[in-house]
């Protein structure tokens, strides 16, 4: 059945086809351009290029997770950066342990910053991160369980709309402050950096980078397929129904809370994976990643790309970040104007995002003209 739906949806919407096609292209081309094509050739993909593409793909995955929770389920989570960073930190802890005695202070077990803070032994929450499998487990588990706990509380007591958005923001804000503290045992403001290798492979060698990038692309593809399956399933329709008329769907006998919770947790895990893939390629993770502004930016990528389409989100992430890379070098003094203008113009003229420009299918979506001013606000039940 799954393959069937996927096949259907791939047939049904060109977007999916092109998205997966594009990824496949990356998977094939990148290794060739970087490994086979000689550096002298204009078509050689430098390590810098690798890092960029890798970053974009990770962000695309993050955007995907936001689109699932926001574009389909209507939950605007401004805390997605938290899950992303937690995944990143989990991976970072593994990479730190991998450094072993090669650190500045040459301590076989303790990371440099612990030696530096006169820590005598490894804190309990660092145990086990020397095993890759354990790190992988945590990458999914930590963001997942946080989302579970948080979501359970929030959805059970029917926190919705801006209230939910703001407390998710409070969540990531609190985490940021916590991780900034050196006493927390996560390296404070500096976070983790200067990684040496992953599973024994040198992180600085292009070959390893290529592999990481390919893995990222594949993960992105897989996640996309899974998301696509979810939204294509009956559960997917329920989720969309929740987005459009939450109170109504309850009277059909659906436990809205649990649907929201499942999606929330799943998207948190996706974000975690994105973070985990991001760290080894970028080479640093620090509390700045938790910043609420980051979460807002992710939402903006999705909005720019076009929400409720999945591929739109991914496209948005790539576009906005490419624009950022491009402008910060070409017009370093004024790139904020360009980016700001982009956001304003997209909202004003492309309410359905850039995908809206080219897609025929998404019609009538994204636009739900609700008057801002509603008599009596919360729909009162009176005759």
């Amino acid at each position: 059945m799954p393959q069937y739906t996927l096949w259907i949806s791939a047939r049904k919407d060109a977007g999916t086809a092109w998205f997966l096609g594009g990824l496949a292209l990356v998977v094939v081309l990148v290794p060739i351009l970087n490994q086979v094509v000689p550096p002298s050739s204009p078509f050689h993909l430098s390590a810098y290029g690798l890092t960029l593409v890798g970053k974009y793909l990770c962000y695309a995955l993050l955007a995907l997770s936001v689109d699932l929770i926001w574009g389909y389920c209507g939950i605007l989570s401004l805390g997605q950066a938290a899950f992303f960073s937690l995944g990143g930190y989990a991976m970072g802890m593994y990479l730190m342990r991998e450094i072993g005695p090669r650190g500045v202070y040459g301590d076989p077990v303790l990371p440099d910053f612990m030696v530096f803070l006169n820590w005598k032994s490894l804190p309990w929450f660092w145990q086990g991160f020397n095993h890759f499998w354990f790190a992988i487990l945590m990458i999914a588990l930590v963001p997942g369980s946080l989302a579970l706990a948080f979501g359970w509380l929030a959805f059970r007591s029917r926190v919705t709309g801006v209230y939910l958005s703001i407390i998710t923001q409070a969540l990531t804000y609190a985490l940021m402050l916590a991780f900034f503290r050196n006493d927390m045992g996560f390296g404070g403001n500096n976070g983790f950096t200067d990684f040496k290798d992953i599973m024994g492979f040198d992180l600085h060698s292009d070959r390893v980078r290529v592999v990481l990038l390919v893995i990222t692309a594949i993960m992105l593809g897989l996640s996309y397929v899974v998301c696509r399956m979810i939204v294509a399933s009956r559960a997917g329709r329920v989720i969309r129904a929740i987005r459009d008329a939450e109170s109504r769907i309850r009277f059909l006998g659906y436990r809205v809370e649990s649907f929201k919770l499942w999606v929330f947790v799943f998207s948190a895990v996706l974000a975690g994976i994105a973070g985990a893939l991001y760290v080894p390629q970028i080479g640093i993770i620090n509390p700045g990643e938790f910043s609420p502004i980051n979460s807002i930016e992710v939402v903006i990528w999705v909005a720019v790309g076009g929400r409720g389409t999945l591929y739109g989100a991914a496209a948005g992430a790539v576009l906005v970040n490419y624009a950022k890379t491009y402008f910060t070098s070409t017009i370093p003094e004024a790139w904020n104007y360009a980016l700001g203008a982009l956001f304003v113009l997209v909202t004003l003229f492309l309410p359905r995002g850039i995908i809206g420009l080219v897609s025929g299918r998404v019609k009538k979506q994204g636009k739900t003209e609700r008057p801002l001013i509603q008599a009596g606000g919360p729909e009162r039940s009176r005759e």
């Binding site: 969309r240 009277f251 006998g253």
Partner: protein
């Protein structure tokens, strides 16, 4: 609890919105298979009553039981729906960004847990059932149209259709014929009457003609309590009712 007895007991129900008593010590009993019409001027508490029964509003006091044992007040909306109580809203609310077909599919009776719906496959039986209903509500042609694009009357039908898909024991129907043409009204009447018997049906309606055409038993609500009850003629001849309606 006895599977067969699906009587709805509403006892001494009181609901107040900041001071104003929407329901005031309301007591009501709906027999299984009964078709009951509830009428009353605005603010009589008709919709509020439905809200309480379906778990949307929590009462200040009173009890609502479905069958001798099942206390509805202890349940959440989904649980109540699962217990076999379906509702059609006064203001038709369908899922505007889903197709007519999908709207009905969501209403399908059955296990509605996340995992189940995630892996659910549409069975032939289910599809045929959906198309039956589509025929009944006369939307077979538009089954691929988005809910939001339907006309008001069609939305009414769609929502009735969703109600049918749920296969509930008790249907709460709030102003079903608003915005319908005459023959549509007749069809609705026929439909509701056909439903009565194996389902119990509660209809709230302003349209007296319609009520007369279907009602066996009529309950008149006024200021949150039962003003009169009986068949149409009794009720209409009741002086208090006349006073309330014509406002002496």
């Amino acid at each position: 609890m006895s599977v067969h007895d699906k009587t709805l007991y509403v006892e001494q129900l009181t609901v107040s919105f900041d001071g104003f008593k929407a329901l005031n010590d309301l007591t009501l009993k709906i027999q299984p298979g009964e078709l009951r019409c509830i009428i009353g001027p605005n603010g009589a508490g008709k919709t509020t009553m439905m809200d309480v029964i379906t778990g949307k509003t929590r009462p200040d006091s009173g009890t609502v039981r479905f069958g001798p044992k099942l206390n509805l007040l202890a349940l959440s909306e989904p649980e109540i729906a699962q217990a076999g109580i379906g509702r059609k809203f006064q203001k038709p609310t369908v899922f505007e960004r889903l197709t007519v077909f999908e709207n009905l599919e969501l209403a399908l009776a059955g296990d509605k847990s996340f995992l189940n719906t995630l892996f659910a496959r549409r069975t032939v039986a289910q599809e045929t059932r959906i198309f039956e209903v589509l025929e009944i509500i006369g939307l077979a042609q538009q089954h691929q149209a988005l809910g939001g694009t339907l006309a008001h009357g069609q939305k009414q039908w769609l929502e009735i259709g969703m109600l049918l898909m749920q296969e509930p024991e008790l249907l709460l129907v709030d102003e079903p014929v608003a915005g319908m043409t005459l023959q549509e009204i007749e069809r609705t009447a026929a439909l509701l009457q056909s439903l009565a018997g194996e389902h119990s049906v509660v209809v709230v309606e302003h349209d007296m003609e319609f009520v007369r055409s279907i009602a066996k038993r009529v309950t008149v609500l006024h200021e949150g309590r039962v003003l009169a009850e009986g068949d149409m003629d009794q009720v209409q001849s009741d002086p208090r009712v006349i006073e309330v309606y014509l406002g002496a």
